[in-house]
Amino acid sequence: MEPILSVEDLSVRISGLHILQGVSFTVAPTGVTVLLGRNGVGKTTTLRAIVGLTPPAGEVRGTIRMGAQSLLARPTHRLVRGGLGYVPEDRCVFAGLTVAENLRLAERRGTSPAYDKVFALFPELDRRGRQRAGSLSGGQQQMLAIGRVLLNDNRLLLVDEPTKGLAPKVVTEVAEVLERVAESVPVLLVEQNLAVVRRLARDAVVLAAGKVAWTGDARELLLETALTKSLLGVGTGEAHRPAGSDRASVAGKDAH
């Protein structure tokens, strides 16, 4: 299968710091590809480089292609209109606009926005249509940020830590949403929550020290405790798994 996105030798410098040093990977045309790595390794930077949002002080080299088309040096709004959906790490909803206005803004010309789909996933957004997005709680804002992108048809979704700071219940919901979305659109996902990763990911790319340290089947990565431990610093069976980890660990604690 031809990959939907291929990144080759991507190098990003921001004000002198060489953050990505020749990153290459591909994203399969179906399913979820997860981008893993420790804090500060450059996951967000990678996504932002793909969608053309490297800060002014930054310098991007390498090639990024979607199909046959090169993405580098094209303005962000063109890329997005071309079907590249982006959910940023820190939500970035428009605090001063109402929820409904936030959604309306995301409508793209010439397509019919899929409001029913979004409201079915997040009924909260329908109910709070008139509330200003800035007064939503963190989790509600995340729903809005995801819902906003799902209004449109996309060829590829870039999603940066969608479950950060969400209650376990909502984490589950978000994971479900992404799972369903991934049935029709390929997703490149940055996620710290291994339970979510395990549930969604088909392929995995692990970044370390500004380079790609491992690529392959996500399940394979998660199964091999030694591998995850060396790449991500955790074993899948360990206690300190982040949020949303299954109840077993909760029960385990209960049993102490």
Partner: protein, 296 residues
Amino acid sequence: MGTVILLALTGLGLAALYFLVASGLSLVFGLADVLNFAHGLFLGVGAYGTWWAAGNLPGAGPDGFGFVLAVAFGVAAGTLVAILVELVLIRPLYSRTIEQVLVTVGLSLAGVALLQATWGADARPFPRPDWTRQVTGILGAQVPNGGLLLIIAAVLVLGAILAFLRWTRYGLVIRAGVENREMVTALGIDVRKAFTLVFAIGGAAAALAGALGGVYFGTVSPGQGSSLLIFAFIVVVIGGMGSVVGSAYAAVVVGLVQQFVNYYGTSGLGDICVVGLLAVVLLLRPQGIAGKVATA
């Protein structure tokens, strides 16, 4: 009674002028986050554009339709300059607020100097229909027609801007772009167009203020814009940045206070009152009369 009416109506005329300058300033300032010290230049261009057109543009003149054409030319010139300024000077500097200040201050100095270099430092008589020099008797007051014209224009501009912001998609984009340009882009919208638009609107309103102010004052001079600018800034701030309605309220308050205090109090007190008003409003309500409460 006649005096009160006269003061009120001329005060409103002044308010209308302040509003026309302030509305654009407020939009650009509150929405595009640019403290535009060169806004007075747009006014100057509008005024000189109208003046020039009335004398030189075929079909334009100081009367009737010719005058409308001259004003239209002036407004178009002001708008064009505003667009150019945005495209060439401001656009590369978005999110670099302080450097924008440097550029707009530089532009206001250079722009006024350029007007002066071209047309001289002295005031020129402004071409205008005769009826604008006359007065209309309203309840015993002899109200200058030029002032009434300003009031009507300001009300129309206010309505148009509000409708635009509230009901058009570009209005929405402008309001969102202020908060987070990057994210608007990430939704597939070319936000830069919206900012150019804001400048165009502000430039047009200011240029109109220049043309009608020329009618009202009877002259045009290079520094006219800058001297109005400080009061326009005060109006913007009292009204709340980004709020066009707030600017309208504030302009009325400032215009009336100046007029009444100057009549009943001693000279200069009107200005001090306005400035005092600004300080009091800001201390009690830092976001201005109609300003949105900052989100935590």
